[in-house]
Structure formats: structure tokens, C-alpha cells
């Protein structure tokens, strides 16, 4: 196999695995900060038990997320050295800013949080969790600014045979970055909310630790409701921006081949990339794609055929991932709205609790699918319109990349298994008994 393909697979494995853990870190940290703040304010021990229970799951997840992030930063140098030389002036600085401004904050204060229970007052300790949560989100913001620049490069000029920075402010404030940040952060908050609601549902179904889990459930429900409704609106604006800035990606998202007005969306379509058409097309709804892209059912949407063959992204993967993401994107607000209306009778709604329990994997799926749309849909470009992925890889012996790819699969596979297994065990075990109960015993 060639080095390019192996490096792409390696990067896909490393990023997608890392991003199984990042969103929960982003979402759950805020929920825990809220719980602990309530404890610091009221002294109510239930909130302390909640903080510690969710904190334990958070830490297992954080451990895997943080160590897998380290290797990512170095992948640009190891496997994508030509990319690094070409855009390091801009991309490298964004990564470096992320580390100095945010990652230090998150990583230093998480250590203080874990070990600082006896060293800090309740208020100071809760404040430390806020620093962790805010550090995590700032870190995501900078990484997403860097990614958005690859999606839609601005603020640079080509000089000395590379992209050189001319306007950092333009890079930080561009619309594509803002939309990507809002999209990713709110999806992470949804994941955090569904994680908490799902595990709470498990215990509520068993009618155990009811005080801890109804309160957890309610906090997560509000969080998830707001984030998921927001995401539908934001996703709509996001699609318009993609249509404008990455028309090939938009066409691939809906396997849309012919340029035309009243462009349809299909309930299901399967592309035949060889013959430049869809093999299967079921349930065409005319005008929806036009509306999605330009808020006008009569708008003309450029089809894939109008892009040179070598500048089309892989259609099947992009389209399928988009369907999964959008489908789930509507499922989340639907289910949280239902849960909102049943929140006072949640114990008498075992069907809903069961749905929520089995929904835990869905935000993970939606988020991974979303990244597939963003990254596969951008191909063949590594920096949209500027540099192709095929020009970006390092010159390396292919067996080195193959061996490290296998290494990633084995190590990450074991880590993923151990991490999720440990989270499951601790989630099922439930919170520790209240201190008062311990004294009684």
C-alpha cells in the first residue's frame, strides 16, 4: 500500500478515536461544574455525591482523551511534513496558541481538582472545575479555528513558496470558524447531556439512588434541550455557508449530480460514481436541497458533474455520513422535548427511560459522522482550493507507516475497550453512599 493511503488511514484512526473522548470531556465538565457549584452554594450532600459520581466517569474518559491528543499534534510533522512546511506559518501557530492558552489550563487544573478536595474550600474547588471546563472549550475553539482554516483558508498570502500569515484576526473571526465552533461545541454538549440522561435513566429504571439521578437527569435535560434545539438552527445556517464556500462538498452530501433548480433531497440515494449518477434514488422531495443551500426552492444547485472528476470528494461516504448526522440531529431535540414534557412523571415513563438509555451511543455516532462529512467531504483538498492531500504527505518507508498504523489500532483498541469498560462498570456501580450513611455503618 502506498504511504499516502496509510498516512490517511492512520490520521483517520487517530483523530476519530481521539474524538470519541473529547466531546464527553467538553460536555460533562460543564455539567459537573454546575453540580459542584450547587453543592458549594447549598452544602446539600446529594450534589456532592453527584459531583463525585460523574467526576469518576469524567476522569476515566479524560485520561484516554488527553493521551490520545498528544500523538495528534505530532502527526502533522511525522506523516504530513510537506503540509507542515507549506502552512506551518499559520496552522502551527494556531496549535501552539491552543497549547499555551488553553490546554495548560485544563490539564493543570484537572490535577488540582482530583487531588485538591482537602486542600481547597468547596467554592474554590468548584471554581477549579469551571477552569477545567472553560479550558477545554477554549482549547476546542482554537483547534476548530485551525480546522476551519483548512476548510476555508483566509488571512494569508503565498510567499517564499508557502502560505504566510497576513491577518490573524481574519482567521480567528471568519464565519466558517464561528459556525464550526458552535456546531462542534453544541454537539459535544448534547453528547454530555445524553450521557448523563442515559446513565441516570438506567438507575431510575432500577429505582435506585433516585435523589442523585433525578437531579442529574434534570440538569442534563435542560442542557441537552437547549443545545439540541440550537444545533438544528445552527446546522441550517451552517449548510448555507458550506454551499457557498464548499459547493463540491454540498453536492456530495446529497449525491447531487446534475446542476439544476428545484434540486431535490432523497430519502435514500446510493451513488454510482463510475457512471456519474445515482444507482438508487428513493423518495425525491424537490426543492429541498435548493432550500437547504440557499433558502430558496428555486435556487440552482451546482451538481457534481460540473466539478472536474479529480476535484470531487468520495460521494458515497460523504452522503451516507450526512444522512446519519442529519437524521440524528432531528432525533435529539425530538427526544429531549418529549422528555421535557414528561420530566415530572419520568419515573412513570419506563419506555422513555429505556429509549434514553439506549440512546447513549447515538450522539457519538452523529459526531463521528459529522467529522466524516467535514473531512472526507473536503477531499481531495487538505487545504480547500489550495493544497491537495496527495501533495502533503511525508516521504517515509511505507512499512514504518504500516507498522505504526497497526500500533495505533492495537494500542487504541485496547485503550478504548479498557476506557469504556471502566466507565460502564463505574456507571453501573452508582454513586458512593453519603458520608452520613458511612458514619452510621
Amino acid at each position: 500500500m502506498d504511504v499516502l493511503l496509510l498516512s490517511r488511514l492512520q490520521f483517520a484512526v487517530a483523530t476519530m478515536f481521539h474524538f470519541l473522548f473529547v466531546p464527553l470531556t467538553l460536555g460533562l465538565s460543564f455539567l459537573i461544574a454546575i453540580m459542584e457549584t450547587k453543592y458549594a452554594k447549598t452544602g446539600d450532600e446529594t450534589y456532592l455525591r453527584m459531583t463525585k459520581f460523574w467526576g469518576k466517569l469524567f476522569l476515566i474518559n479524560f485520561a484516554v482523551g488527553v493521551v490520545t491528543g498528544i500523538s495528534l499534534e505530532f502527526q502533522f510533522g511525522t506523516n504530513w511534513s510537506k503540509y507542515s512546511v507549506y502552512v506551518g506559518d499559520i496552522f502551527g501557530s494556531l496549535l501552539a496558541i491552543e497549547a499555551t492558552v488553553a490546554f495548560f489550563l485544563e490539564s493543570t487544573f484537572i490535577g488540582i481538582w482530583i487531588f485538591g478536595w482537602k486542600k481547597l474550600s468547596a467554592k474554590a474547588h468548584a471554581f477549579v472545575m469551571w477552569l477545567v471546563a472553560i479550558g477545554g472549550s477554549i482549547s476546542a475553539v482554537w483547534i476548530l479555528i485551525a480546522n476551519a482554516w483548512m476548510q476555508h483558508p483566509v488571512g494569508f498570502t503565498i510567499r517564499n513558496g508557502r502560505a504566510e500569515l497576513t491577518d490573524l484576526w481574519a482567521i480567528i473571526t471568519q464565519e466558517f470558524a464561528a459556525l464550526e465552533i458552535l456546531h462542534t461545541l453544541s454537539s459535544a454538549y448534547i453528547l454530555g447531556a445524553f450521557f448523563v440522561m442515559g446513565i441516570s435513566a438506567y438507575h431510575l429504571l432500577k429505582k435506585q439512588h433516585v435523589d442523585v439521578f433525578t437531579r442529574s437527569f434534570n440538569i442534563a435535560l435542560v442542557f441537552g434541550l437547549v443545545a439540541s434545539i440550537f444545533l438544528v438552527i445552527e446546522g441550517d445556517i451552517h449548510a448555507i455557508d458550506v454551499a457557498k464556500k464548499q459547493p463540491a462538498k454540498l453536492a456530495a452530501m446529497e449525491s447531487h449530480w446534475e446542476t439544476k433548480a428545484m434540486a431535490p433531497v432523497y430519502l435514500f440515494a446510493w451513488p454510482d460514481e463510475e457512471n456519474e449518477k445515482n444507482k438508487i434514488e428513493i423518495g425525491a422531495i424537490p426543492g429541498v436541497l435548493s432550500f437547504l443551500a440557499y433558502h430558496d426552492v428555486n435556487a440552482v444547485v451546482k451538481g457534481l458533474k460540473d466539478f472536474p472528476k479529480e476535484e470531487r470528494p468520495p460521494v458515497a461516504i460523504t452522503a451516507l455520513a450526512f444522512k446519519v448526522m442529519v437524521g440524528l440531529g432531528f432525533y435529539f431535540p425530538l427526544i429531549t422535548i418529549i422528555a421535557w414534557f414528561r420530566r415530572k412523571k419520568i419515573m412513570e415513563s419506563p419506555w422513555l427511560l429505556r429509549i434514553l438509555l439506549f440512546s447513549i451511543p447515538l450522539p457519538y455516532l452523529a459526531i463521528e459522522a459529522g467529522w466524516v462529512v467535514a473531512e472526507v467531504g473536503r477531499q481531495p483538498w487538505i487545504v480547500y482550493g489550495l493544497m491537495k492531500t496527495s501533495q502533503a504527505a511525508s516521504v517515509l518507508p511505507s512499512e514504518h507507516v504500516l507498522i505504526t498504523l497497526i500500533g495505533f489500532l492495537v494500542v487504541y483498541g485496547l485503550l478504548g475497550f479498557a476506557g469504556f469498560y471502566m466507565m460502564a462498570i463505574n456507571a453501573i456501580k452508582g454513586p458512593a453512599p453519603a458520608v452520613a450513611e458511612i458514619e452510621h455503618a
Binding site: 476522569l59 511534513s81 501557530s93 487531588f115 504566510e164 500569515l165
Partner: protein
């Protein structure tokens, strides 16, 4: 020119700070099987670095990120030529990182044995490989005009490279044992004190040997003969070692650990100062060497990054310093039963 020189210095400083901070937690991992006689000892050792290792590792991310931002060509060439050792470092660091968290999740013998082994290997391998890598950078890396590496992992295992690795391992081990002297008591502390005194003469010999060997294996001393004031760096590195030993004998462990920090920073700077203006010299052809002047980012990026670093690095040092102070108390046995301990 001035901006690039400043960045050369900052680049060296960030790597030195990584070795200084992570050095002690890697060192404790290296000593782990030797000083940790009982399960309680082992838990003590892990918990002594528990609150700090995570923040320490970010110095690696920052050193890597700053290399990327300020010297993209060096970043690209350094990590693609040193592909295999860097991947080994990353894999072992990854496994080590989760080991701290995972070890305590079950009491089963086989389970703790696996993670204990991971902690040891995950600390020894990065310490050794970073030493080998930096010694090789000091002596030059065989890469061609396209930035492609002409060699393999064994090419790097020259006697000088291996000596560099051993010096790093020993320095980190002493750094770690000094931290254990601060945070533990009784038997474990006694063993840590003994480790310091056993390691110290070996380290002095190792550092002296490394500096002397550099005369033959590298061109580092060209700068030293041009600017004799640079010899102060070697003096400070040695002074750090001597003062650490004296303070440790006086049981002033926190200060001794501080002196050990100084020793590590200046041992690193011994090489950095000799390299200047080279960041990544080629051993195939001197003209291919990457210097601060032929591989830097644009002036605007360097300026912006300098502002970022000047504002945030002191802040990071301040809150990390606070964290170190906060967690410099003795760990008691009952702390280990606390549910938040590792």
C-alpha cells in the same frame, strides 16, 4: 535576525522546561520497580506525581507546537526523520498516561502487574529516547536535500547517542527521587534519599563524560571557543548538581529539587547554546542544516507568537508553581484510601 535568535532561545527553553517538569514524573516511573517494594509504596509514588504529571506533559505539546509555529521546516523535518523514535515515545507515553488512572481500578494481581510494567516502560523509554534524539541532534542527523532520513533507529544508537540517553535517564531518576524525598516519609523516603546519594556520583561522571565526549562527537564547542562566556552554562549545570547534593544532605529537599531543575535546564542548554544557529544539523552535508535563519516562520507569525508566549508562559509558570506548592506536603497512608487518589 534578532527575532529568529529570540525564538531559537525560546525553542530551547520550552524543551528544557519540558525536561525539567516531566523529568521528575518520568524519573519516578523509572525508579518505580526499584523503590516501590510494597503496593502502598507504589501507590505513594504514583500519587506523589498524580496531581502534576498531566500539566507537565503539556510542556511537550507546547514545545512541539512552538517548533511547528516558529520553525515549521524544522518541525516537519525533525519529526518525519525521527519518525520511529518519536512514535515509540508517543505510544509509551500514551500507555503510561492511562496506567496511572487504570491501575487503581482493580485489585487483581495480574491487572496491577500489567499497569505497573506500563508505568516503568512508559517512563524509561521516553526518557531514554529523548536523550538519544537530542544527542543525535547535537551531533547531526543524516537527512538529505529533500529532508528525507537516510538511516534507521539503529543509526541513532551511536555511543554518543546512547550516552545522551543514559544521562537523561539518570538525571530524571535523581530528579524523581528528590521529589519522593519531599512527598514521602519513613522507608520509602529513606530509600529515595539513598537513591539520590547512589545516583549522584554516577550522574556527575555521566554529565562530565557527555560534555567531554561532545568535544569529539559534535561541533558544539565551536560556539564556546567563540564566546567563552557560554562556559557559564556548564558551570551552572554542574553547580545545580552540586547544590542539589548539598541541600539533599541537609534534608532541604524542596530546594534540592529546585537545584536539580537548574541542573536539567542548563544541561539541555549546554547543547542548545552549542547548536546555535543550527536547530537541526544534517550530518550528510553541513549546507543542508536547518538553522534559525533558514527555517523560520514569517516575521509576522514570529511577532504574534512572541506576544502570546510572553503573556501566557509566565501565567502558566505561576499557576503550575502554585500547584507544585499546593502538592508538596507529605502523603499520608490514609490519603491513599481517599477515593480521589489514584
Amino acid at each position: 535576525m534578532i527575532m529568529q535568535s529570540i525564538w531559537f532561545f525560546l525553542w530551547g527553553l520550552l524543551w528544557a522546561l519540558f525536561f525539567m517538569t516531566s523529568g521528575f514524573d518520568l524519573g519516578i516511573g523509572i525508579l518505580y520497580p526499584f523503590l516501590g517494594k510494597t503496593d502502598t509504596d507504589k501507590k505513594m509514588m504514583i500519587n506523589s506525581l498524580g496531581p502534576l504529571w498531566d500539566g507537565n506533559e503539556v510542556w511537550l505539546i507546547t514545545a512541539g507546537g512552538v517548533t511547528f509555529a516558529a520553525f515549521p521546516l524544522v518541525y516537519a523535518t525533525m519529526f518525519s526523520t525521527l519518525y520511529v523514535p518519536l512514535m515509540l515515545i508517543l505510544f509509551t507515553l500514551i500507555i503510561r498516561g492511562v496506567s496511572f488512572e487504570f491501575r487503581g481500578l482493580s485489585e487483581k494481581k495480574a491487572w496491577t502487574f500489567i499497569w505497573d510494567s506500563c508505568i516503568f516502560v512508559g517512563s524509561l523509554a521516553p526518557a531514554l529516547l529523548f536523550g538519544v534524539a537530542f544527542a543525535n541532534i547535537f551531533s547531526g542527523i543524516p537527512f538529505d536535500a529533500n529532508g528525507v532520513f537516510q538511516g534507521n533507529l539503529f543509526t541513532l544508537l551511536t555511543p554518543y547517542g546512547i550516552l545522551g540517553g543514559i544521562v537523561f535517564v539518570l538525571l530524571f531518576a535523581m530528579h524523581g527521587s528528590l521529589w519522593l524525598c519531599i512527598r514521602t516519609e519513613n522507608d520509602l523516603q529513606a530509600r529515595s534519599i539513598k537513591a539520590v546519594s547512589v545516583l549522584w556520583p554516577v550522574i556527575v561522571a555521566g554529565v562530565a563524560g557527555f560534555v567531554a565526549y561532545s568535544k569529539f562527537a559534535t561541533n558544539l564547542f565551536e560556539n564556546y571557543s567563540k564566546y567563552p562566556a557560554l562556559y557559564l552554562i556548564i558551570v551552572l549545570a554542574v553547580a545545580g548538581l552540586v547544590v542539589a547534593r548539598i541541600l539533599a544532605a541537609k534534608k532541604m529537599y524542596f530546594r534540592a529539587w529546585g537545584a536539580s531543575c537548574v541542573a536539567i535546564v542548563f544541561t539541555t542548554f549546554f547543547g542548545i547554546a552549542g547548536l546555535f544557529p543550527n536547530l537541526f544539523p544534517s550530518s550528510i552535508d553541513k549546507n543542508l542544516s536547518l538553522t534559525a535563519f533558514n527555517s523560520s516562520s514569517s516575521p509576522l507569525t514570529l511577532r504574534i507568537m512572541l506576544i502570546v508566549v510572553l503573556i501566557f508562559i509566565p501565567m502558566v509558570l505561576a499557576y503550575q508553581g502554585w500547584a507544585y506548592k499546593l502538592f508538596s506536603h507529605k502523603i499520608k497512608e490514609e490519603d491513599l484510601h481517599h477515593e480521589e487518589a489514584y
